[in-house]
């Protein structure tokens, strides 16, 4: 087996030994407690190098540019050189914060994203546990169905769900005997419909990941628990959840990030934000106010605000985890 990376790693091994005998200042603190793999001054950076090069060039630098753009008057006319760029300080931010609609959209986004995250995680985890309790064939069937839902392009998934719940053409109202009840007219029923679609297309990710995590738990542990006659809930609560915490952390954070930025589902299913904008969420709002008409300065400001809100949520979550004794 000669995977890529071997060539790079071999010489480093030699140098790392040298590094260990003469630790550099920065890493001394950690070297005091040597671990089998860890503690080498710049060794981790070698492993990180490819990732850092790619991320630095294609994510961090553009994000830096984004911050820059947010303090300029920067529309398509500036981008394509039709007009000079002009520094406007915090004007773009003032525009964003000065729009009262922004605040109601922000609140709706937070609540809607929270509902989506909780539902997705609950469904995903429950089905992951279910997968471990069934034989190969039903497992494959459920996995394939879930994968299909995951793989469906968001715009198609949203369209199909809309067809299913259409008051005139959809089968759901027929089956439920709802006549021509419209799901998208009321604010909450429209949000509910979108939530169902979001959960449908994002629970598979949680399910597959958590299932992979459960597979990584030594089977003896699970068998022992099963032999003790523990209920599924009990097994989850006291055996699986603690062992899966790193995976669950990631899944939660990712779901928060994605659901907060939901766009296509709202855009397609509520016709761009619902009756009189009642179903607007932050990303759709940003699109309509800024990106669709190429006001990148304003859009960048909304982007920065989005980033800060998400960062705050994530940091609070990580801090809570840490308080529970889980470290990064």
């Amino acid at each position: 087996m000669t995977p890529t990376g071997v060539g790079a790693a071999v010489p480093s091994r030699v140098r790392v030994r040298r590094g260990l005998s003469r630790p550099r200042g920065g890493s001394r603190k950690y070297d005091a407690a040597p671990r089998p793999f860890g503690g080498a001054g710049w060794h981790p950076w070698l492993y990180l190098a490819p990732a850092l090069v790619i991320l630095g060039g294609l994510l961090l630098y553009p994000i830096y540019q984004l911050g820059l753009i947010s303090v300029f008057r920067y529309t398509q006319a500036q981008v394509s050189g039709g007009e000079p760029t002009a520094f406007v300080g915090v004007d773009n931010y003032a525009d964003v914060f000065g729009d009262e609609q922004f605040w109601s959209v922000l609140l709706a986004t937070v609540l809607f994203a929270a509902a989506c995250v909780v539902s997705t995680l609950a469904v995903g985890c429950a089905l992951a546990v279910l997968l471990t309790r069934v034989r190969a064939l039903p497992r494959l069937v459920l996995m394939l169905a879930a994968l299909g839902a995951w793989a469906t392009p968001a715009v198609t998934g949203s369209t199909v769900w809309l067809f299913l719940f259409d008051p005139d053409f959809g089968p759901v109202n027929r089956v439920l005997g709802l006549g021509d009840h419209s799901w998208t007219y009321g604010r909450y029923s429209a949000f509910l419909l979108v939530l169902l679609e979001v959960v449908w297309c994002s629970f598979p990710f949680v399910m597959v990941t958590v299932y992979a995590g459960i597979r990584a738990v030594p089977s003896e542990v699970l068998e022992a628990a099963a032999l003790d006659g523990a209920s599924p809930w009990r097994v989850w609560r006291s055996v699986l959840a603690p062992m899966l915490r790193p995976v669950l952390t990631v899944v939660t954070i990712q779901s928060v990030i994605w659901d907060f930025k939901v766009f296509t589902q709202i855009y397609v299913m509520t016709g761009g934000g619902g009756i009189a904008g009642q179903n607007l969420v932050l990303n759709v709002y940003a699109y309509q106010q800024a990106f669709a008409s190429s006001q990148y300065g304003l859009g960048a400001a909304i982007g920065v605000v989005t980033l800060l809100v998400l960062l705050a949520v994530t940091l609070v979550y990580l801090r809570l985890l840490r308080r529970q004794g889980e470290e990064l």
Binding site: M1, V6, R35, P36, F37, G38, G39, A40, H43, W45, L48, A51, I54, L55, L60, P62, Q65, I69, V79, L127, L130, R133, V134, R135, P138, R139, V141, A145, A146, L147, W150, A151, T152, V155, T156, V160, W161, F163, L164, F169, V208, A212, R215, A216, V217, S219, A226, L227, P246, T249, V250, Q254, I257, A286, Y296, I302, G303, V304, L311, L315
Partner: protein, 284 residues
């Protein structure tokens, strides 16, 4: 597992039949919108709009698929999509595996900062990054090439992949690592021959994710492939059917069906890895 074990398992778990029934029912519910999509692709023209939502069609038609496959350079788009998604899966998987090992198995300065940075990168709306990325790719001379899709997709799937693999790398007991060294294994051997297979289920889950997100992407393809349609990807073939005044739903459903199939094939190919995972490996 011996036969005795199997029997015992069955007796001890009478709930399994119920669980399997539940799994199948849920699978049907989850698959129903997919069925509706495929059905929409086979419905003859006008039936979607006919106002009679029958869960079958009496006159299945291949017309919608003909419109999809009859598009200019459809095969070319398909191959391009495969190249993009394949490169993204392989490169981001390997790079993320190394990086995840670094942040899990080492303690060093800025480790936490770095981890947060990885997350931050995903918090910005992609729309907002399209313009800075555009200039960056132009400076690299990559516009209008598949590279302009592959690189950003790697960059966007890396942070997630690193975070996710981190959880899996962490799950590998340190005792195993010590044992490997006592047995005389080198770092490289441990990394690739012991650690790598152990985190494979996680890597598979990650690869499914990055495959789907690269495969389904519209935005980058719309923004960075400007003048050379021979470098376009499959979703472009889907977008043709979205006409503002008169969308062709049959075409949309057929194109989506065509797009979903390769993902399912990819998944069937990798899913055995997902199932035969760490559990067996640790026991040996």
């Amino acid at each position: 597992m011996t036969v005795v074990n199997l029997v015992r398992g069955f007796v001890r778990r009478p709930g399994r039949t119920a669980a399997e029934a539940a799994a199948l029912v849920i699978a049907v519910v989850v698959a129903f919108p997919l069925y509706w999509m495929v059905l929409g692709a086979f419905r003859p023209a006008g039936e979607i709009e006919s106002g009679r939502p029958r869960p079958w069609t009496l006159a299945p038609s291949l017309d919608s698929f003909r419109r999809v496959f009859g598009q200019q350079e459809f095969g070319r788009y398909f191959v391009n999509s495969l190249v993009v998604a394949g490169s993204v899966v392989v490169v981001s998987g390997l790079v993320a595996f190394l990086a995840a090992t670094a942040v899990t198995r080492f303690r060093f300065r800025f480790r936490t900062t770095l981890l947060i940075m990885f997350l931050v990168a995903q918090m910005v709306p992609v729309e907002a990054l399209a313009i800075p990325l555009f200039f960056q790719l132009r400076n690299l001379g990559l516009l209008n090439t598949l590279g302009s899709l592959i690189l950003p997709h790697i960059a966007f799937s890396l942070p997630f992949a690193i975070w996710m693999l981190r959880g899996f790398v962490k799950g590998v007991p340190e005792a195993l690592e010590e044992a490997a060294y006592i047995d005389g294994a080198s770092r490289v051997r441990f990394l690739w021959q012991i650690l790598f297979p152990l985190v494979l289920p996680g890597l598979v889950a990650t690869s499914v994710f990055s495959f789907i997100s690269a495969w389904n992407d519209f935005l980058f393809a719309k923004s960075f492939i400007i003048s050379d349609t021979s470098q376009s990807t499959l979703p472009m073939a889907l977008l043709v059917f979205f006409k503002p005044d008169d969308p062709d739903w049959g075409g949309v459903m057929a194109a989506s069906t065509v797009m979903t199939v390769p993902v399912l094939v990819f998944f069937v190919l990798v899913q055995r890895r997902l199932v035969s995972g760490l559990a067996g490996a640790v026991k040996e």
